[in-house]
């Protein structure tokens, strides 16, 4: 299958490992990955911070960039959520654009959705010999409803010791600009998330969103816990050398 990568601005700039892993994983599974160069950012930060007008050109760019492709994948539940649930709303003043946005959204998948629902694989042939706990990010969980798809993928990874995260469905406190505008509350939420991660005894905390992992990982690193965060795509892309 020919799959267009919607890399997301955060993974492109700060977490290229997650994006590379997405490419290598899909290629290993026998698919062709293309990277439309005109893409930048889906506009989620602008939309969620109250700047819909500024986000409109970004929505237009996103639609134009990904329109030619039958399947689009992003290693981010949150950005796919914005495409699926916000783009048409931002474009409401331009019905033509809104309709096109809706069509692109219908062909855009978060990585675990693409693997399980579209490509029909749960065992991607990965090997990752670590104790891992999975944090279901809010937008994967409640906006996209990916359910247990990421867990099913992880359960098939050889060598991986999957441990359940207590109070997993509680928000980690990231919330985009929330983490800056309400830094204290965000940190209080993070403290509880980190406590639960540490309680599992895992050495790796994984998720489908680089943004939440940046926040959780930033906290774990500040406290020198020795627990690291790794994007789901990187685990799934790992193989026995």
């Amino acid at each position: 299958m020919r799959i267009a990568l919607f890399v997301t601005c955060l993974a492109d700039t700060m977490f290229p490992a997650a994006a590379k892993a997405t490419v290598l994983l899909l290629e290993r599974l026998g698919h062709e990955v293309v990277f439309p160069q005109e893409q930048t950012c889906c506009g989620q930060m602008h939309i969620n911070t109250g700047y819909q007008k500024d986000a409109l050109p970004l929505v237009r760019r996103h639609v134009r960039t990904f329109e030619p492709y039958d399947v689009v994948v992003a290693p981010s539940g949150s950005c796919v959520g914005a495409v699926r649930h916000q783009h048409a709303m931002v474009a409401a003043g331009d019905p033509g654009l809104a309709a096109r946005a809706t069509e692109v959204a219908a062909r855009t998948y978060e990585l675990s959705e693409l693997l399980v629902d579209v490509l029909g694989v749960e065992d991607v042939g990965a090997y990752y010999p670590h104790r891992v706990t999975y944090h279901p990010t809010c937008h994967s969980l409640r906006v996209l409803r990916v359910g247990d798809k990421p867990l099913r993928l992880l359960q098939h990874v050889r060598g991986l010791d999957l441990v359940e995260l207590p109070a997993a469905e509680q928000c980690c406190g990231f919330g985009g600009t929330f983490s800056v505008k309400n830094a204290d509350t965000s940190t209080a939420m993070l403290a509880d998330k980190m406590r639960h991660v540490l309680d599992t005894g895992a050495d790796v905390c994984t998720a489908g969103d680089a943004s939440c992992l940046m926040h959780i990982g930033g906290g774990l690193s500040r406290l020198r816990t020795g627990v690291r965060t790794v994007h789901l795509a990187e685990i799934l892309a790992s193989t026995e050398a």
Partner: protein
């Protein structure tokens, strides 16, 4: 009924409890440092989430009930003028008197005048959000009338000269030691040997309130539902103290927000299943009191219904925001909210805290008066899933953020960022610049304001050697 031309009125300033003295982040910061508050909230919200989750899981048709509740509310809002007029007719026909209050000041004036006309100097109160919203207690006190809250938690708040911090459990921020202290200090005639054993505390409140119930001739209540078809008002509660107020006095004055009207008696079938399970985690609430006007020889012989707008019509005018009027005040969204669980209700500065407060208060007052509230959420979506009438709170939050006034520097930065993102060349050089800046200068912990909120508690990731884009090009 007053008629309005042009934009409907907002809740007026200087009266009632819809605006805080501080922004949410500032108030939250104080609350977060209160370890007793944190512990109480965590315990209370975790307990109620568990209880509610269990009884909701018993109902195979919970999702259908939610949809029915949502549809009934949408129908009601679309037909509000008609339904309110119908309610007025039915209440009047049953011997009640209906008053229309455009805002908090009018409502307070109407109630104060009605009480003054009875010559009584004290009223007993059923727990009510609407009367808290308009600051009725303060208005009554200013007129020399003593209001006595009879809901146990509301009484604790009143005696403690405190503010409610939860819709349903107003004293959720207090523990039993604090409650004992408040009772010893402020409850007339309390036994000085009072312990902090919960049944003992409840017993003390019961003895105090019984005396008051027997000797007070006027009651003030809110209403959970007002049925247009029959003119029946309904109050649901757990303690029975509300029932005392609704049945013992000669005069009953009910203040009801105009959005609380429901079309028909049969609609209660839906709401009375949704409300107790979502709010207290009970299959059925212990007391459901209903009354239709006046019944000769039984219960209050004078009944007044005050229909309160106070900004609600303005909310109704907003196509996205109007969903907030569907709220049945169950407080499920508070109990599942990770922000509320940590900050408590006072940080929201309004009688309506938590997720519903973050979307309702700014709409009632106008967003400029509560500009920080739409941002008091990580948009995690737990509230939407929990809401028994399916109010899409995250979407309303995003909608209100778009209406909120923005600081000029922030707006400039956001516009510049959007411009950069819309020009791939600029975007690529911004990526490189960000990397260089990181490597050159700020490898340490600090970031300049406002980003120092991030670096105060979180390390920044090490900059990658190349962006994904670079890697792709070099393949």
């Amino acid at each position: 009924m007053s008629t309005f031309l042009g934009m409907p009125v907002r809740a007026p300033r200087g009266v009632g409890h819809l605006r805080g003295d501080q922004s949410f982040p500032a108030a939250a910061k104080e609350a977060l440092g209160n370890s007793q508050l944190r512990r109480n909230l965590q315990h209370a919200t975790t307990t109620i989430r568990g209880k509610s989750g269990r009884v909701i899981a018993e109902l195979p048709d919970w999702q259908e009930l939610r949809s029915a509740g949502s549809a009934l509310k949408a129908y009601t809002m679309a037909n509000l003028p008609l339904l309110l007029t119908q309610l007025e007719e039915k209440v009047t026909a049953a011997g009640g008197v209906v008053h229309w209050a455009a805002d908090a000041n009018e409502a307070n004036q109407i109630v104060t005048d009605l009480v003054a006309r009875t010559g009584e100097k004290r009223v007993i109160k059923v727990k009510s959000m609407a009367t808290q919203e308009i600051g009725l207690n303060e208005a009554l006190e200013a007129a020399g009338i003593a209001p006595v809250e009879t809901d146990l938690a509301e009484l604790i708040v009143q005696l403690g000269e405190d503010k409610p911090s939860h819709i349903l459990v107003p004293a959720i921020h207090r523990n039993r030691a604090e409650i004992r202290e408040i009772f010893l200090r402020a409850m007339p005639g309390v036994d000085p040997k009072l312990t902090d054993d919960p049944p003992v505390l409840a017993g003390a409140a019961r003895r105090y309130l019984r005396e008051i119930f027997m000797r007070t001739k006027v009651a003030v209540s809110g209403a959970n539902f007002g049925i247009a078809e029959t003119g029946t008002l309904a109050v649901v509660e757990s303690e029975g103290n509300g029932r005392m107020c609704l049945t013992l006095p000669d005069t009953l004055i009910t203040v009801m927000g105009i959005e609380k009207v429901v079309p028909a008696w049969a609609d209660l079938e839906v709401f009375l299943q949704l409300l107790p399970r979502a709010s207290t985690g009970e299959r059925m609430n212990p007391y459901t009191s209903m009354w239709t006007g006046v019944t000769p020889g039984d219960g209050p012989q004078n009944f007044h219904l005050v229909l309160l707008d106070n900004g609600r019509t303005a909310v109704l005018a907003d196509e996205v925001g109007r969903q907030a009027l569907h709220c049945i005040r169950c407080s499920a969204c508070l109990n599942v909210c990770p922000v509320y669980e940590r900050t408590g209700g006072h940080a929201y500065g309004s009688v309506y805290p938590g997720p519903i407060g973050a979307v309702l208060s700014p709409q009632l007052t106008g967003v400029e008066d509560n500009a920080s509230l739409p941002y008091a959420s990580s948009l995690c979506g737990a509230c939407f899933d929990a809401c028994p009438v399916k109010i899409d709170i995250p979407s309303i939050l995003v909608h209100l953020r778009n209406q909120a006034p923005h600081a000029r520097t922030e707006a400039a930065v956001m516009a510049a960022a959007a411009y950069t993102m819309d020009h791939p060349r600029l975007y690529a050089s911004a990526q490189r610049a960000a990397k260089l800046a990181r490597i050159a200068g700020r490898r340490g912990r600090g970031l300049p304001p406002p980003l120092n909120g991030w670096s105060a508690s979180r390390d920044l990731p090490s900059p990658p050697d190349e962006t994904f884009r670079d890697w792709w090009r070099g393949r």
